[in-house]
Amino acid sequence: MNQYTISALVSNKSGVLVRVAALFARRGYNIESLSVCKTENDALSRMTIVLNGDDYILGQMMKQMDKLVDVKKIQQVEEDAVCRELLLAKVKTDAATRSQILEISQIFRAKVVDVSPEATILELTGKSSKLDGFVTMLMPYGVMELARTGVTAIGRGKACIKDETDYKEKI
């Protein structure tokens, strides 16, 4: 089982997310993470989907998504692309553990965004693997709550997703 990341520009209107999610559900494919955001163009949103599977599933998913009227551009995110995720973690803290938690945060370059006598909220941005490592280190102290945004990604160099050809334009 491999992990793939897909970026797509989709119409910025209601119902698009459910179309994409329904497509994955119907074909029995698993979404590892999904993030949706606005783009520089008001008419378009950007979706970043992380998918577990093999080359066949990736190919089918990209082709099936490309067929959706509201999916305008789609591409597989290349391995060297910039992939980032944001994490917020609420960690159980007391006087004894606070300095250790802060030390770990420093190593990962995480930010302390909230401190209270019994808990600390930490913010970290980076590759998913870095975030995973961070969480592993925090676990022994007691992770009370964890929120991750899912991966968002952008390819390196001057090539842009908007230069891709839409399947609907190919036929």
């Binding site: 179309r19 099936q64 490309d66 067929k67 190919k170 036929i171």
Partner: protein, 551 residues
Amino acid sequence: MKKIGAEILIECLKEQGVTTVFGYPGGTVLDIYDALYRDGTIEHVITSHEQGAAHAADGWARVTGRTGVVIATSGPGATNLVTGIATAYMDSVPMVAITGNVGANFLGRDSFQEIDIFGVTLPITKHNYIVKDASELAGVVREAFRIANSGRRGPVLIDILKNVQSMEAEYEPQKPLPARRKSVPARELEQIAKALSAAERPLIMAGGGAIASEASKEVVALAEKLDAPVVSTLMGLGACPASHPLFMGMIGMHGTATAAKLCMESDCIIALGARFSDRVALNRGKFAQGKTVIQIDIDEAEIDKNVPTTYSVLGDLKEALTTLISMIRETKRPFSQKAKQYRAEEKAKDKAPELGHRVLIEAAKLAPKDAIVVTDVGQHQMWTAQYFPIEKPRTLCTSGGLGTMGYGLGAAIGAAKATGKHVILVTGDGCFNMNLNELSTAVTEELPITILLMNNHALGMVRQWQKLFYGRRFSQTNVRKKTDYVKFAESFGATGLVIEKDEDIVPALTTAFATNTPVVVDCRISNDENVLPMIGPGQTYDTIMTEWEDK
């Protein structure tokens, strides 16, 4: 100019050249029906049930190649369309379904007859809309028709809120945009031409795409140039005339033994608008093992989906074939001689053992010129594919992908309405009972439909599987209905006839085909007839069963 939403809808339908719609009125489409009434130029066929209307729009679209239109009210009206829309979706039939919904004021409050038909039809439409403002309506309708007709065709649903139908908006007439169509890359076609020319035993497999793309002439031309036998999927029947010497019949679970043999012996299979469904490929991993597989399809997602290809090209089949044919030199191949010999031997051996077979053979002989054949789903459907030669594209309507029992009568109404030609509906007592309410529609519309009701008092195909795979435990498939179909037909205002034995066939069919209104022919066949040949689900072609063996 200012118009209300309902009027804008009617104007947009007229822009698209719509002359006939099928449907059923109700609370949330009152404004649309009022606009239809006031306009008076679009013919509306009211069915007994919205499902019948959806199948009628589907039949209409299959025989004309144009987009079928169906209208239904919100809630149950809309949900009753679902099977019809799904049928069209699975068989790539262009359709625009229009539903009303409750007004904006009532939306999301579980109001009377409110249902989220947008959500319900999401996975069974190419695209769907919910229109909340009259100013969007014209754009949506135009786009809907374009989507239904572009690329791989299919159904589109437009859900229009009731208040939008009476809301005023600006309307300017527009000519319909042509369906999108891009040229097929020549470089990939060259590779395919090379592979085909190098093949010793090429086999052409025509699918529904050959009909959708109006590529029958090109399919035949390719076959003749390559001197290659042609087999067809159920959806592709008619793309190559059944009487063509290179045509070897249907391929798949109930295809001809010749098709199965050729499939095994060929070194190269070229699929023309066919998707290697499980009813064709059966064992998709072994279906084309070791062969060159070429696929031409308009749907990128179909390429390599079920059977991996050696060469493929994305695009319109008619255009691709036109170019491809010009790249190939005419060659004679011994394989085609072998194929013809196989077919002749198979035909000589086939004694049409069942009464149902013989009814169909005679029906094909006596059928009025250019008659349209419509089927329901099951044994009679397979017999039709095997024993009723389909000579021309768009003269067979059958639910291939979804396998919708109850499809036939609605579709027959649509086909008859569209062409004015005689329609032969082959159905079974199981299927017929699902939507026989539409007989009243056929009678009201005075349509020339002959219904060959293969009445075996059983759900024959399911029963056949129970015989083969469930130790003859006929759970719920011996249906002992007491219906007198002659009286039934007469009570609906149709004619009822009976075929009980071979001598009845010709007189009954002659009478039926000479009648220009609906005739139900109750063909009382045995409950133990089979469909053969058969290859079991997931099995390989060498396991084909040509004579019945109890398992």
